[in-house]
Symmetry: C2
Amino acid sequence: MFQNTLVEVELNNLLPASGAAPEKVHQAIRWSMFAGGKRFRPALLLATGEAFGAPVTALIKTACAFEMIHTYSLIHDDLPSMDDDDLRRGRPTCHVRFGEATAILAGDALQTLAFRTIAEDEQLDLATRVALISELARASGTPEGMVAGQALDMEAEARQVNARELEDIHRHKTGALIVAAARSGAIIGKATEAELDAVTTYGWHLGLLFQITDDLLDITASAEDLGKTPGKDAQSRKATYPGLYGIEETREAAANAHRAGCDALDRIDRSTTVLREIVDFILNRTG
Amino acid sequence: MFQNTLVEVELNNLLPASGAAPEKVHQAIRWSMFAGGKRFRPALLLATGEAFGAPVTALIKTACAFEMIHTYSLIHDDLPSMDDDDLRRGRPTCHVRFGEATAILAGDALQTLAFRTIAEDEQLDLATRVALISELARASGTPEGMVAGQALDMEAEARQVNARELEDIHRHKTGALIVAAARSGAIIGKATEAELDAVTTYGWHLGLLFQITDDLLDITASAEDLGKTPGKDAQSRKATYPGLYGIEETREAAANAHRAGCDALDRIDRSTTVLREIVDFILNRTG
């Protein structure tokens, strides 16, 4: 659904060659970047930007920057001292393949490259670049973003969390970056404040839906569909929606998030067909 | 020499409060940031910027951003899978005090905050912000910057390196960020291309001098002066200047770097007194 040749080509252009020193770090970056990822965040950014009339040339590099941040976070989250995952998308994780030190450095370098990519994107005016860097930084750091979410998630592993805490974890850990991807497309497309507000609401519900369906898949899907061991969340006592609400109520929550996301799109007087397809796809996804 | 109350106050303002969630990550960030660091890079940036007539209000946030990048790199470099250091500046390192996962996240969040700080600095025009972010990213990532240097350094531990390789390691690992700090002050001060060129040359020699004297101190200084175990580099078979050239020739190389740094300053028709004091101080430093 989300794979896009343009994104693959541009990522390949932006990443240092695997033969460039330090080779091992660059090989590790490429190992994790070209591992069959869904490219959900780039697709969302492209779809939102195109809804607001931005040309793909103005969107593509920022889309890649979001994928770099996402991939760096996967590399670091998989580390032994974090989630300790050996397998991702059916292949050894970065630290298993290249060693822990190289995996840490690969993640660090990918984060840096994300910000550099936006700063140096000559398709964008200066005000837009600065706004996008701020947006991406807030969504990926602390106290508002992804790193905060990972910290909250790890802290929660040791105990039972309530509904409010679970939502708080996911809003930070996955929601913030998904919202920022949608908003960034709209920012590049020079959306109005009211439109940006609708996109933000859409993004939050889409992010929530993404997490809910991720939790559901962890219970219901086969290892082949997932490329990782299903049931791992339950084993590691990760807080999940089905764990807290049961499967039926979780499916209802998914339907509600889907509806709320579509309602937000109704407030945008543009062609939002692809954004609707994305929220439909996430509701019904099997992997 | 380099401590500056303004930098401490501004860092304190920019970093999330230790009581803000996720508390442990923010406490870890502050533990490493307020650990008695020399603030060499901020001091260099302020001195260069002031030489070119920039007001301190326009320099201070970028100076703090450089210290954030430097501190994130120390946190990650100290990790067990990297240099495995338990002590820094006489105190337990971040991962010893807060655990490995929190240390990784603290470093990640600090890197993000550095770029955000520059992007949101309203004292700077948009073109300057974008130029500074590009400058900082190139100096801290791969293939040109600090992360590449750490990777090269680790790769070199297993074998004997030659003079060219040693210089290559240090140009990336410490040189690039020192050069970028000096250049960033000059960029904010709207230096001409010729001036920026002289600042760059000054920065490279200062960075080389910094590394040479660091290596010398590791051999000659007491633990009390260093706040870490002296001789650790030799034990871990890290490549060093004295290891490669002997102490006398290394002292000569330091004097040469000092002289070349001063020569570069002669090409700048501004008051560069403080920049001269910095290179003098690094030549003669005892800690």
